[in-house]
Symmetry: C2
Subunit: 334 residues, 2 copies
DNA sequence: ATTCTTCGTCGAAGCGCTTCGCTAAAGTCT
DNA sequence: AGACTTTAGCGAAGCGCTTCGACGAAGAAT
């Protein structure tokens, strides 16, 4: 690999001249510029970003920090839109796992490699936030904590989403509603939207004088089946379900069908996840249009602005309220 | 941020002594070791990986290189398993996009930042392979080219998968079969499995004296619907479809249903993609069990072995032949 | 007692780049 | 013509680390 000093020698100029021709931070004569470019061409020069980063303290890498080894269903969909936004702005995306039980790792790893961080699966009380603050690393959240003072985040307004859903179901004549939430593990970790969805669910139920039950559900077809069966045992009069995780959907439908019920005539289903997922089932699921792409893009954009712009802008806090799209899985109670 | 020289000063030892205590590459007295650790503690020292990498020429970062901005359906599922394997071995994963029409980007970006590369959506003739070779960057493929001499790859044996599928359908009495392939764009780019699936399809059709039609299909419900309708126009006697992309599945089922046909009584469906996706539809799709996790893990492992081990092991070439799982979407022709 | 080995430590070079301060040469102004 | 600015380019310092060679002080061997 040719280095700058190779170029300098070959072009017959000083090392710094080469650097300045590349960066354009000082005027360079046309003549020198030509010689430098030619030398670069001949030697197949490629700048070493590591060396540059060591000096400039900027790597143009941002990290996507998620707590477990495997991303939970929804979170995966953020990745590409974040990566796209990052790439567009000349940043690369580093996937960074920190098992939430061992934050030590976060300390040691990648010091200096990362310009900023996007936090996923944010918990109500998230130790990572404190750590990041302490380390003085710029970061934004996709999701939010309980106390969000001074934090930049983009999140879906789950309270609103659940309320909208319950309103809609109530208006369709449903009085006994089940909530099928994310996994037990995520609830235990107090991941923001999981807790919020649950709370909002019971608040809305109570507010309208309805009757509701909820359950966590793992990310598999079978779990969906079992969860529905269990909920029906708790309340045989259930006529509607709200789904927060896509993978169990098939099992949910199977269980309802096994119960001798039809969707949407007897039982209504409303999903709060990616529309692409909602359209895979038969019948297609009515759903709150979870704007993964927009959220990912916004999160990345907010971070990049922090990195590029003047440090002290106010923390941007964005709460999206996507509409409900009615598909084939819901309707008036027969 | 405290640096090594801060530690050295505080501990009253030489800079190099600090370095050696950390790396253990030379013996250090217990006494010195203690002083160093204490100083590190007091100053909250964290090593700067950038500086280290500049010297050692290793960043412990591997890149996942994909050709477009957005990952196509299947590819997404590799990401987490690769990330997991990488993390386990102390590597981080960088998401790296190179629009296939502009490989220049690959040259300039991230020189020095990347120890090795995993290539996704490999085309039969893939310019990126040449480039990577030229740059002397270690890499492995998930997928494969036409000529794979000297390449390390892990791929699903699509020829075998398609043959197995056609065999099964034929044995079930189906004689007119449709193939619903990935998008036109991917076929045009000659992405390996897209081309191979198509070729293998017609080879198997011909071999058994069946009749077959194929079509590309974009990644949406609507596209699935339209594709099926189009294929039925080409051959009204179709009684089975092979699916290579999950998102259109809902639309495929809807179209079949609109035609007044039932699955599986009238029409059989077999998928070649992730079982999780196959279980979302109703009825759940029979499918070749695409081993995303295993492939991702193997791909990452192969690369890491290259990076860690002796340079010159033979290129590992792994071709997986997963079995067909029959679910509810297929059966004997009525 | 003298030489030969280890052992623990130190200083300095160097990875490939950016950037600062300086200096000639050339251009501008009275 | 002299003083003053501007322009283009040079050399050197330094980013934070690894690693090499050297060197006293012990301990082992003769």
């Amino acid at each position: 690999m040719a280095t700058m000093s190779d170029i300098a020698r070959r072009a017959g100029v000083a090392l710094s001249t080469v650097s300045y021709t590349l960066s354009g931070k000082r005027p360079i004569s046309e003549e020198a510029r030509q010689k430098v470019y030619q030398a670069m061409e001949e030697l197949g020069y490629q700048p070493n970003f590591l060396a540059r980063a060591l000096v400039t303290k900027r790597t143009k890498i941002i990290a996507l920090l998620y707590p477990s080894y495997t991303l939970s269903s929804g979170q995966q969909e953020f990745v590409t839109s974040i990566a796209e936004m990052a790439t567009t702005h000349g940043y690369a995306l580093l996937l960074w796992t920190s098992p939430s039980e061992n934050l030590e790792v976060m300390n040691m790893t990648h010091q200096g490699f990362i310009d900023g961080v996007i936090l996923m699966e944010v918990a109500l009380h998230d130790a990572r936030v404190d750590l990041l603050r302490e380390q003085n690393l710029p970061f934004t959240l996709i999701g939010r904590c309980e106390n969000n003072e001074g934090l930049s985040f983009v999140d879906l307004d789950f309270d609103n989403a659940v309320e909208t859903t319950i309103d809609y179901l109530r208006a369709s004549g449903h009085t006994h509603i089940g909530l099928i939430n994310q996994s037990e593990a995520m609830l235990k970790r107090e991941v923001g939207y999981v807790v919020r969805a649950r709370t909002a669910f019971y608040r809305a139920i109570q507010h309208h004088g309805l009757s509701g039950v909820d359950s966590c559900c793992d990310e598999s077809e079978q779990a969906g089946y079992e969860t529905v069966m269990r909920l029906f045992e708790q309340d045989p009069e259930l006529s509607a379900f709200v789904l927060l995780t896509p993978w169990p959907s098939g099992g949910v439908l199977r269980a309802i069908s096994d119960k001798g019920l039809r969707v949407p005539e007897d039982t209504s289903l409303v999903a709060i996840f990616s529309p692409r997922m909602a359209e895979m089932t038969t019948p297609a699921l009515s759903s709150i249009e979870f704007p993964f792409n927009e959220m990912g893009r916004l999160g990345a954009q907010m971070l990049i602005q922090k990195l590029e712009g003047k440090e002290e802008e106010k923390a941007a806090q964005i709460l999206l309220k996507p509409p409900l799209t009615v598909r084939r899985s819901s309707g008036p109670r027969a």
